[in-house]
Amino acid sequence: MSTRVDTFAYDDAIVRKFLWATFIWGLVGFLVGLLIALQLANPVFNFGLEFLSFGRLRPLHTNAVIFAFAGNAIFTGIYYSTQRLLKARMFSDGLSNFHFWGWQAIIVAAALTLPLGFTQAKEYAELEWPIDLAIAVVWVAFAINFVGTMVKRRERHIYVAIWFYIASIVTVAVLHIFNNLSVPAGPLKSYSLYAGVQDAFMQWWYGHNAVAFFLTTPFLGLMYYFMPKAAERPVFSYKLSILHFWTIVFLYIWAGPHHLHYTALPDWASTLGMLFSVMLWMPSWGGMINGLLTLRGAWNKVAEEPVLKFFVVAVTAYGMSTFEGPMLSVKSVNSLAHYTDWIIAHVHTGALGWNGFLTFGMIYWLAPRLFQAPLFSKKLAEVHFWIATFGILLYVASIYSAGITQGLMWRAFDETGRLAYPDFVETVMKLMPMYWVRVAGGSLYILGMLIFGYNILKTWMARPATYEVPLVTAAPLGAHAPEPHAAPAGGLVASFTSVKWHRRWEGAPVFFMVMVVVAVVVASLAEIIPTFLIKSNVPTIASVKPYTPLELAGRDIYIKEGCFNCHSQMVRPLRHETERWGEYSKPGEFVYDHPFLWGSRRIGPDLARLGGKYPDLWHVRHMEDPRSVVQRSIMPPYAHLQRKALDFDQIQSRVDAMVMLGVPYGDAVTNAPAMAREQAQAIAAGIESQGGPAGLADREIVALVAYLQRLGRDVRQLPATASAAPAAAVAPGGGK
């Protein structure tokens, strides 16, 4: 037996880099969140600037807090714990640094493109295709670095935290690639490969699992490492942690359809998503209990140690939101909560409580170790804890009330069977006090973040002139003595449960990765394939035709301005919905919708049946200054649409991309700009004759009006108007 021992050092410089990035991007993401919260409380905070409007900034907020704040926090914890758990320096310092700088570059690209309106219109997957490619490259570099570290590890056993990291790395890769498949129609413009129901299905398979495999499993890995560290005792039950892992891997991937209850999704898919979501309650609470009971016999430490306080609230918030998630996925509960602020409150319990507090606790624990100086002030950390906790309570309490209030008002009928609140804006006005309380809660959370930053900065300033790099010694794997606790083999069951079997299996982390991928991919395919390949799932409707070139251009403006962040296009088959909006939405209506624009929140009214509801001039005035038409509206103004010239020449490439996706465009294949101009002139003339401004025929607003007037028209087979007239011209076979 060899007695060779390696001497090496961990790479903590990369951990420090990710730590700072976590703080900086976290602050940016929180501040953007505060701004958009203000915008909802009072539209004046849109400042009349197109790149600061809610529709453009909301994706910036979500992307910044998920991928920049939580992302960098995950990497901070992973780079610290993985090296120590595997007794190996990261596989390649070059790859570590490529990962760090690549990820920051992607964040900067997101921060620039989203306010400029470059978006794929899919939640948490808004970034356009070149950035998506960059994400894939950086993620693969991270994966190679991680697997490489596992291969050269000096600890044979792979701790459960590492399992969670592996599952996250591989699943995020799969989700990212499949949801972002699209056909480019320009350097920063693309159309989703999927349309309508299928696109929605794909998106929420991704969207839900972004929560699962970006905000849950990696953080669970961090919990399983840093909680025992801070409590100075092993996890309560290692058995439970194994079950926690496998149950989550098996179940989570199925749960996505609960985001689409009562939409045009096939009912079986919806039910499937609901059942798996309810089942998820069990492993989630198993994990929560496992985390909390790790503190058994150490509860006295919680009183004096802010790190543990943060962890206790984080794990409790995990428990709260994973109880609420299954509850919200039950169809009847969902029919009340969907499209309301309830979902926003649910998300923030998880994000502010679980992700935020776990990150803060972890960094308070890491900072003295990484900066090799005592934490500047424990007292300030305590202050941070209480301020932020109070902030979360204000935030969620107000937004829960807002959500339930709005949900109940939407569905309320008076004693004569009419809608009790037929005017949508009434249901919005009711929320204003709650929106201001949210602003207060969010501000407190940010105040806590600033105190946190000051504390970490002061700790960093007390660092030694040069960091001491402790050397670690460990024997390479081959030199390991045989396991002292190997079970004697004998019989089938014994050999199955024997350590030896496990040894070989665990000795091949790549095999383990493959098994996780199989579990995730098989489940995804079983759920997604039928909607693509079995006809009965999306019955076609003969009267549904592709958008005209001008309407397509208008739809792109709708996407660019992020209208879908506040307006749904999906009438659920519920009585109050059909009373309020009209005929419920059907799967066949969306076969040309690349991407789908069903939306997930009704801050403003649903638009699925908007076409023909108002004259064109109403839309022009409304977009210019919403409050001139709807007095108490909180919509941002879009006056720039009347100033900006519509790029007619670009329309051809957009139509071409649609044709590539199989949309039957007839004449428009060669003639799109001319057709668009013709329709634009007709609409502009109509607006002028209604007493509106002249000379709008080459402005963006005309395209948007054309699109808005088209919404819901096909399925109701309304007679053609100036806006809808050329639609017939692009009917399949209507050309040459």
Binding site: S81, R84, L85, K87, E155, H157, Y159, V160, A161, Y224, Y225, P228, K229, E232, R233, P234, V235, Y238, K239, I242, L243, W246, T247, F250, W365, P368, R369, Q372, A373, P374, L375, F376, S377, K378, P470, V472, H485, A487, A494, F496, T497, S498, V499, H502, A519, V522, A523, A526, I529, P530, L533, I534, K535, S536
Partner: protein, 68 residues
Amino acid sequence: MKLVDVMSAAGLSIYAIVALVLFMTAFVAIVIRTFAPSQASQHEYDARLPLSDDDQAPAQAGRGVTRG
């Protein structure tokens, strides 16, 4: 004949049941393994892995502790 027609006519629902049985079996196997008594010492060892490195923080401000 398009792929959609083939898939619609193929009657694939049996595969969903097969997948269910396979997944359930895999999961039950994992549960049995996890609770096998022979695993106990292994789990104890694994559970202590995060605590096996000796990376203590520098003494806390205002609290004389351990080492520098």
